[in-house]
């Protein structure tokens, strides 16, 4: 009997660990991390990455878990109410509104990407010659990247029906409640994801040298492509910015999810060991799997061309990797396993994004669960439909991801750090985190949360805004062998193409030249009318600058980006109005009157 009880408890413990890992692990672990690391110094990226983990990630996780459980023990589960418990000020609930809009808007495009993963898994199972032959074309057609609205056309090979399936699956699971709805699903899904990941990992690490004609494209070369450090990258603030952003996104810090989840714990429930376990499981899947699978596999089969795919998670995940699986023995089977694993990782994350708004609708308006889920379903369907329709260039998705999935997350993380450090306080924080704790958390963490984290976050936010909001023109080289006739309105001349090729600049076939408002400048435009390069006549020749469009210019030049931003603003305004109304109801109920003042 004692032995059977021990086995059951051991099984329960393992089950809990896998459940903790389930919500932490998502697409970012396998797709975003490798590409971001490769683009920002390879192995050198790990230094700012681990510093961000220790200084920002783990402390902020603990702060969210602590504040959530504290407010939850006082009857508050939604972020507006939680923030009001932490900081007894009328503004607190509106700041909590950020923790509603972030998971909601992210869900609107995350579920779309989730459907792509399932779609690719199904495609590998059913077989598609186009996917193997031309992954880029397949991806473009599958997601409707060439034209807005095309995704709704029947018989066009798009994945629209898959989004419907995944959307309904998400809501059918959440409809019955987090634990009742998905308990059986995830207790199978998480171990399965772990097994699939290990299978693919072993497969990649045992590939050897698949093509004897390319002896450098082997496992060690692939690992080196990912892990060889480029120390110069450490001098670039963008590297530190990218590392912090990756930690945030990966650990779901500043999403409003952890703080909501933790509010359902009791004072006896540990948050210290749970929070650390969640972080460690996430890092295991990110560093030990994502870091050893994605880019090494891409390099083994694509060589240095793999670098072309590191700028985008989508390129890496949905174009480079299919190329890899097309060349790999039994590639279709491994492709199906890989993308199904990504789907499992995504769905366990997307489900957790729905609960914060459900909790608010219940708490703020007295709605029951089914009514709240239904309202949320309609709201999120509107957003999913918007992103799905405006699929050209994935502009709508990119706009949502930037303004909400990057900017607002940083803002919310800063708000939470300030709330914890300055409203909640170091003393209360230290005491609260050790309620029911199974490990000791150093006092240093409290000091860091009050003083170091807010300053670090402010610096990151300022750097992030500087790099991404305004446009930047970066000098590339000076073309000295170009005559005045080589630069004229219209199609790019062969002479100009030859000169730019000397500077290793790629020019699309449909590129055109246009004189800018300033007499000496010429703009080279791509097929969509976006500025690629700026040519400036100087005494020494033509100076060529690469034009990197900032997000402010994107809003001005792209009607879809403009509309997407206004969609986000509308959602935010709507939720803040709801928060305002809920706040009035809470005031009438005297909800917070029994709580001690800040």
């Amino acid at each position: 009997m004692a032995e059977q009880n021990n086995r059951e408890q051991w099984g329960s413990r393992i089950g809990v660990i896998l459940a903790v890992a389930g919500s932490a692990v998502g697409l970012g672990n396998f797709l975003r991390f490798p590409g971001t690391a490769a683009q920002n110094g390879g192995g050198a990226f790990m230094l700012p990455y681990f510093i961000s983990l220790l200084v920002l990630g783990i402390p902020m996780c603990w702060a969210e878990w602590t504040m959530g459980r504290y407010a939850g023990s006082r009857g508050c589960n939604s972020a507006p109410a939680i923030f009001t418990v932490i900081w007894r000020h009328p503004l607190a609930k509106y700041l909590g509104g950020l923790a509603l809009v972030i998971p909601l808007v992210i869900y609107m495009y995350y579920v779309l990407i989730e459907s792509w993963c399932l779609g690719y898994a199904v495609t590998y199972l059913t077989g598609s010659s186009q996917l193997a032959a031309d992954p880029s074309a397949f991806f473009g057609n599958f997601v409707g990247i060439h034209e807005n609205g095309i995704i709704y056309e029947e018989g066009s090979g798009h994945g629209t029906w898959l989004l419907l399936v995944v959307f309904v699956l998400n809501f059918s699971l959440i409809y019955r409640g987090v634990s009742k709805g998905i308990e059986r699903f995830c207790k199978i899904a998480m171990p399965l994801m772990l097994v699939l990941g290990i299978i693919v990992l072993v497969r990649v690490l045992t590939l050897g040298t698949p093509d004897p004609a390319k002896p450098n494209q082997n496992v060690l070369g692939g690992l080196g492509f990912m892990w060889n450090p480029k120390p110069d990258a450490l001098l670039n603030p963008a590297t530190w910015l990218a590392a912090s952003g990756q930690i945030f996104f990966s650990l779901s810090v500043g999403f409003g999810i952890i703080i909501n989840y933790a509010s359902y714990l009791t004072k006896k429930d540990d948050v210290a060991l749970s929070g650390l376990t969640s972080c460690s499981m996430n890092e295991f899947f990110e560093v030990c799997m994502g870091g050893l699978i994605t880019l090494p596999a891409a390099f083994i089969f694509l060589g240095l061309n793999a670098k072309d795919f590191t700028g985008s998670s989508f390129s890496l995940g949905f174009q480079a990797l299919p190329s890899v699986f097309a060349r790999m023995p039994a590639g279709e089977m491994f492709g199906a396993l890989w993308f199904f694993m990504l789907f499992l990782a995504a769905i366990t994350s997307s489900i957790s994004m729905l609960q914060p708004v459900i909790a608010f609708l219940e708490e703020g308006f007295g709605l029951k669960r089914h009514a709240s889920v239904t309202i949320l379903g309609v709201l999120s369907a509107l957003g999913c439909g918007f992103v799905l329709y405006f699929s050209k260039g994935l502009v709508a998705l990119d706009t949502f991801d930037f303004w909400v999935g990057s900017v607002l997350i940083l803002v919310l993380a800063l708000v939470q750090a300030l709330l914890y450090g300055w409203a909640f306080g170091m003393q209360r924080g230290h005491q609260e985190i050790h309620e029911g704790a199974h490990i000791r958390v150093p006092w240093l963490i409290q000091f860091m949360l009050k003083w170091v984290v807010p300053i670090y976050l402010l610096a990151i936010f300022a750097g992030f805004c500087f790099i991404n909001l305004p446009s930047h023109d970066t000098w590339k080289f000076t073309a000295t062998g170009l005559s005045a006739n080589g630069v004229a309105e219209g199609a790019v001349s062969d002479a100009l193409r030859d000169q730019l090729a000397l500077g290793k600049l790629s020019i699309p076939a449909e590129a055109t030249l246009r004189r800018s408002g300033e007499a000496a400048d010429w703009h080279m435009l791509d097929g969509g009318g976006n500025v690629l390069y700026i040519l400036r006549a100087k005494h020494s020749g033509w100076e060529v600058y690469a034009h990197e469009m900032g997000y402010i210019e994107k809003i001005g030049s792209s009607p879809v980006a403009f509309a997407a931003l206004w969609f986000v603003i509308s959602i935010l305004a709507f939720l803040l109005l709801m928060v305002h109304i809920a706040g009035r109801r809470w005031q009438g109920q005297g909800r917070f009157e029994h709580l001690p003042a800040a």
Partner: protein
Amino acid sequence: MTVGGWIVMTVSVGTVLALAAFCLYRVLTLPPVDVTEHLKGPLDIDTQDTLDAD
């Protein structure tokens, strides 16, 4: 793969594995009476709104 690459990869993977192993060890050695009640994963949460959902 350079020497620096080997060092970075080994230290990174080793650190993460050590952290994960530490957490796993602490969870597995928790007192038996508390384990199912006091260490909950996010997917085990009880939002207490499912019995009266309509």
